[in-house]
Amino acid sequence: MSLTALAAGVAAQACTPVHLGDWRNLLAVIWDFLSLSLFSLGGGNTLLSEYHHMAVDQYCWLSSRQFADIYAIAEAAPGPSSMIVGLLGMAAAVREGPLWGVLSGVAAEAAILLPSTLVMVAASLGWSRLRDSPWRVAFERGMGPITLGILFAVGLKILRISDHDTPAYAVSALVCVLMLRTRISPLWFMAVAGLLGGLGLVNR
């Protein structure tokens, strides 16, 4: 899809960040976010492994470990966790200074939201016609199972890149079960787990 895709996978560790001062690189990045927007099924979590691919393998903005950090920050911060895109944008330019980091973060967030917002406006206004359309029925029923498979793949990917020791895996498994069985706010899980990390009881 883009020139830098060649670099992916070849140099996992020692890669150099893509320079966004070159407008062709900048356009490629913006295009990547714009085109991913319409594939954010299931509330946007399906995009997480694409974000990892982009930020770590393709453009080299972050190490895999930093990506896990940023994911945790976006989950713990107030507001929709899909705002992680703002942090990816920041990671792409923060070396140039904090102002560029913030500008780039805003640009990335705007790019990921623009196409899906336009579609959503059209859908909201035309819903009375769409509701009974066979396209709507087929889309809803067909995309559901695909979203399900992708969400499992994304969950596994996040677990992998979190790069745990055994107690840490146990915490993840426990949190997963508690998320499914109880209605405790996830903020508690993150607070307790953060404490365990601070005390050195779970490591990576």
Binding site: G79, G142, G149, L159
Partner: protein, 196 residues
């Protein structure tokens, strides 16, 4: 929830007639109130309380329809919900204003956290706390699939589609866009409503 009551198709006009029509400014402030109230979580519950009960912009049925549309279409659910509310009253400009109201404060907080992270991530204590938080967020990520699986486990074709997508992504590292472009049309063809 997906199956709205029979009246829902024609609810657009009466739903609006019985409720107030907010200005752009009110939309912005209302969505900002939703965002602020939900800093500890539970966004859609807060959204319902503020938009339906307090400000009475929508009746409950229109709100539920919004949740259905927001989940169905691409984009983050809560953000799509803001777009739905805004666009009902002022089209695209309403949608953008609602979006800005919902995102301004949390996004600013996130940017500050991000700057702090890139400043401090080499500090040992920060790294250790984050290592802990990550274990919880990985557990949360893992739970996403399990949450949905109950809806599909009686449909073998759905399970095959789900398993196929999972294997393609996890084992063969197929990227999301080509995966959806191939499996999506096949799945839609299979589930196309047939008259019987």
């Amino acid at each position: 929830m997906g199956r709205a009551p029979a009246a829902a198709g024609s609810e657009a006009a009466p739903g609006l007639a019985s409720s107030r029509r907010p200005s752009h400014r009110e939309l912005f402030m209302g969505m900002q109130q939703v965002a602020l109230s939900s800093f500890g979580g539970g966004l859609s519950a807060w959204s319902q309380r503020i938009v339906v009960e307090e400000r009475q912009w929508l009746d409950n049925e229109a709100f539920m329809t919004g949740l259905t549309v927001a989940r169905l279409f691409p984009g983050p659910n809560q953000i799509n919900m803001a777009v739905y509310i805004g666009s009902r009253f002022h089209g695209l400009s309403g949608a953008l204003v609602a979006l800005a109201g919902m995102l301004l404060l949390p996004f600013s907080v996130l940017m500050l956290l991000g700057l702090a992270y890139f400043e401090l991530h080499m500090v040992m204590a920060v790294d250790r706390v984050l290592a802990g938080v990550i274990t919880a967020s990985a557990g949360m990520a893992l739970s996403m699939g399990f949450k949905l699986v109950g809806g599909y486990n009686r449909d073998p074709v759905a399970m095959l589609l789900a398993a196929g997508s999972f294997v393609a992504m996890s084992v063969f590292h197929v990227r999301l866009i080509p995966l959806v472009l191939v499996t999506g049309p096949l799945a839609m063809a299979w589930y196309w409503p047939r008259q019987r």
